[in-house]
Amino acid sequence: MYTSISDGIVGAAESGDEREAAFNERLDRSVKVEPNDWMPEPYRKTLVRQISQHAHSEIVGMLPEGNWITRAPSLLRKLILLAKVQDEAGHGLYLYSAAETLDTPRDAMVEALLTGKAKYSSIFNYPTLTWADVGAIGWLVDGAAIINQIPLTRCSYGPYARAMVRICKEESFHQRQGFDVMWKLAHGTPEQHAMAQDALDRWWWPSVMMFGPPDSASPHNEQSMRWKIKLFTNDELRRKFIDQTVPQAEQLGLSIPDPDLRWNDVTQHYDIGAIEWDEFYRVIKGEGPCNRERLQARIDAWDDGAWVRDAALAYADKHAAKETSAA
């Protein structure tokens, strides 16, 4: 983080309460909070947790799809998937940078991920068994991510909001390429159609769960909404996802694996069957199909890259020393 010209100088002697009242008043007027502004510690902590876990999700999210890069069915599909996975890395980096403006070092966040202290989206603990899973992830998982992320472009913390603008622009490519994969498979041979249906069957419920626990069981909702770092509740976002995705499944000629799903004329929304929250909490706790594999992949990448990070720094230091002595 950059320094401020009067760092070390004690500013106007405002008490904590006055500062907090001023902070809340600015939030109410929709004035964005920027890195060097005073902010309540819980706001800072909540943001660091939210942004860094979002970043971890992007980074771990490269793994399930990366699994298919070498086996993409055509050169074009391979180029598209490479670009998509590269974008996920980029999203992770934008978000880590945004979190670092809150005075949290990058390495501390990485360490929290690798030691299992920090969470990432539980959806990435499911395996990608067929090529259709690449389609289903783009269509459903990135589709759900967009619904989650678009409101965040208006959140109260400037660097986070700006990172989300960039991310959302790129996510729509992700969702469309996924839908395109599903469309081709759904309109292909009967085997391809069955493959698309199988992917939808496996990814539907985990995608619905991506929005997090129901509002009745979500402890962070209220405070985060007051701080404008969450603008809609989990259930509101989930409903929006279902309402927009069900017609798309119909257009694909695929069926949503929920026998209780039906349009409700009164609420003007879809009613859905019961969500198996036990599964969600199991996966979060580390008992999903791929939790161990995903985390190990990140640990290996970090450990195997250590000598590269050290060598680059040693090289930079040596050159800097040479320039100083030549000057």
Partner: protein
């Protein structure tokens, strides 16, 4: 754990004729790597034609708690704006 690479602030000129604009930050061991990483991270879709990288620790900023003292005095100097002045009817090219 190894030492962290320094942080760099990245500025991108989206097209000639426009100023460089801050787009975010990244870590790199030196300036050359910062430019390469900035190109990969911030210009994957024709976002720019030129990149500046500046070590974050080299940037000095105003303190937000001083912003009233620094910036508010200009708020009541409305006579600095053209709109402050009444233009009599019929007077042109003013």
């Amino acid at each position: 754990m190894s030492k962290e690479w320094p942080l760099w602030e990245i500025f991108v000129r989206s097209e000639n004729g426009l100023a460089h604009k801050h787009v975010g930050s990244l870590h790199a061991a030196d300036s050359e790597m910062a430019v390469q990483n900035a190109r990969d991270l911030y210009t994957r879709r024709n976002e720019g034609v030129s990149i500046w990288v500046v070590k974050s620790s080299d940037i000095v900023a105003t303190d937000p708690s001083q912003s009233e003292a620094l910036f508010e005095p200009s708020e009541d100097k409305t006579y600095r704006h053209a709109t402050f002045y009444h233009v009599p009817e019929g007077v042109k090219h003013l």
